[in-house]
């Protein structure tokens, strides 16, 4: 829940809004996020868009493992079976494609299971031990963050954290930087960040620099989230790949949510859910004061 509340959907909140304390008005429904989560049943295991993941290419996942084959295959069959019942579509091709995808997803699941088993064995870890998170989802993570075990959070971030501020990332097809370098006539998109190429043709990088050096971006909710972690004494460090100066500056200057907009416990109040997450706000600061 913490993360739902802090990583909010929608446009970046600019500093002017923050100063006026009006950003709550524009807050999109956090409840929507939960609805999306449960209703769509979004399942990353399902390779719905024909991901070109090929486990057989380059890596032989099965060579290193002597796991329990039967169990894994059963799971795979089950998985494939589930998908078959879905529709009464006459389109054979479509069904075949779905079968393929289901198969691939199952294969990937197998790979994952085997790799995990290998990990357990090699590290001498008991797979039956109790996990630190109560559930493997955002709720579980948020609960863990409120608990006493979570003192040092490390954040690793990439260009994706600034996309909603209008700064392109590198690899998103279409909008990413690497897809928009045609005008520089490079041998490969990455050449623009290669030292040898720079020595030879500094022009391209300098022109890109002029573009990458813009001003006046507003921090995104993600920047605020990271700063908020720090304000709560939870952040150990933020490792960032972000290079554009403004991205980093955003992070440095991104102040936490204004106090007027918090729920009385320090967490930003969401306009839509109406419920102050009292358990969240109290857990760290207040419980510490009590002890």
């Amino acid at each position: 829940m913490v993360i739902y509340k802090l990583l909010r959907r929608g446009r970046a909140v600019n500093s002017q809004n923050m100063a006026e304390g009006t950003h709550d008005d524009e807050a999109p429904s956090i409840a929507n996020l939960e609805v999306m989560l449960s209703a769509d049943g979004l399942d990353p295991f399902t390779m719905e868009d024909g991901d070109d993941v090929d486990v057989s290419d380059g890596v032989d996942p099965f060579a290193v493992v002597e796991g329990d084959e039967d169990e894994v295959e059963d799971a795979a069959l089950q998985h494939a079976g589930d998908d078959d019942d879905d529709d009464d579509d006459d389109d054979d091709e479509g069904e075949e494609q779905e079968d393929d995808e289901a198969e691939r997803a199952a294969e990937l699941d197998n790979f994952r299971i085997r790799l995990r088993e290998k990990g357990y064995r090699e590290r001498g870890v008991d797979p039956q031990r109790t996990p630190l998170v109560s559930s493997f989802d955002m709720r579980g993570i948020a609960e863990f963050m409120r608990g006493p075990r979570c003192k040092n959070v490390i954040v690793m971030c990439g260009a994706g954290i600034s996309v909603s501020a209008g700064i392109p990332d590198f690899r998103t097809p279409g909008t990413g930087l690497y897809d928009n370098l045609q005008k520089y006539d490079l041998p490969t998109p990455q050449s623009i960040f290669e030292l040898d190429y720079f020595r030879e043709r500094p022009d391209a990088f300098y022109r890109l620099c002029a573009e990458l050096w813009p001003d006046n971006y507003a921090p995104t909710p993600t920047h605020h989230f990271i700063t908020e972690l720090h304000a709560r004494g939870l952040l150990r460090r933020c490792f960032t790949q972000v290079i554009a100066s403004d991205c980093l500056e955003l992070l440095l200057m991104a102040s936490s949510w204004p106090v007027t907009a918090t729920d009385g416990h320090g967490w930003p109040r969401m306009a839509t859910d109406g419920q102050a997450p009292s358990h969240i706000g109290r857990s760290r600061a207040a419980s510490h004061a009590e002890h």
């Binding site: 486990v55 998170v133 040092n152 690793m156 909710p221």
Partner: protein, 178 residues
């Protein structure tokens, strides 16, 4: 309250500002971040390594190639091409990255990975440095390439994608413990 002061100045800062009703809280101090791939805040000459003021570089780049204020003239002044200290392919990452990765990840209780497809090493391999039990949450708009994920992770166990949700244009794809 006295005890609070001893425990964490960040927490105290937050509390006192709550009390004072300040409009804005402190931003993230520079020491809390590690710019693994450098940034545009500093510039240096690639031949001599000497630092060059950012303003000068920025002005020269804005001016273009030629002329006394252009970047060609700047290169002549400094004995070589000047570029911002962002890490190019093939260049070494800052020393600070390796030092802090070593000490920080050993102490990590929760790893949150935001907006990265984990394609660039050695940054991506950091995710394998945390202890076995540490929960790792990955939030990214797109699925992170399975192989890239596993390649960084074979000595541990893989990140397990748990759920998907859109927030702030980011996509939650994986939230693991396994």
């Amino acid at each position: 309250m006295a005890k609070l002061h001893l425990t964490s100045d960040a927490r105290v800062r937050r509390l006192t500002q709550n009390i004072d009703s300040l409009e804005n809280l402190a931003g993230l101090p520079a020491h809390m971040t590690v710019a693994a791939h450098g940034n545009f805040d500093r510039c240096s000459c690639i031949a001599t390594g000497a630092a060059v003021p950012v303003e000068e570089v920025r002005a020269a780049i804005a001016h273009g190639k030629h002329g006394p204020e252009g970047w060609l003239a700047m290169a002549e002044r400094h004995g070589g091409l000047v570029k911002p200290d962002i890490v190019f392919f093939g260049e070494q990452l800052p020393e600070r990255f390796f030092q802090l990765a070593e000490s920080d990840f050993r102490q990590c209780d929760l790893l949150i990975i935001l907006g990265t497809s984990l394609k660039v090493q050695p940054f991506a391999s950091l995710i394998g440095l945390v202890d076995d039990d540490v929960p790792r949450l990955l939030i990214n708009r797109e699925k992170v390439d399975e192989l890239a994920r596993m390649a960084t992770d074979t000595h541990r166990w893989p990140l397990v994608a748990m759920d998907c949700v859109y927030c702030d244009g980011l996509h939650v794809i994986a939230c693991d413990y396994m």
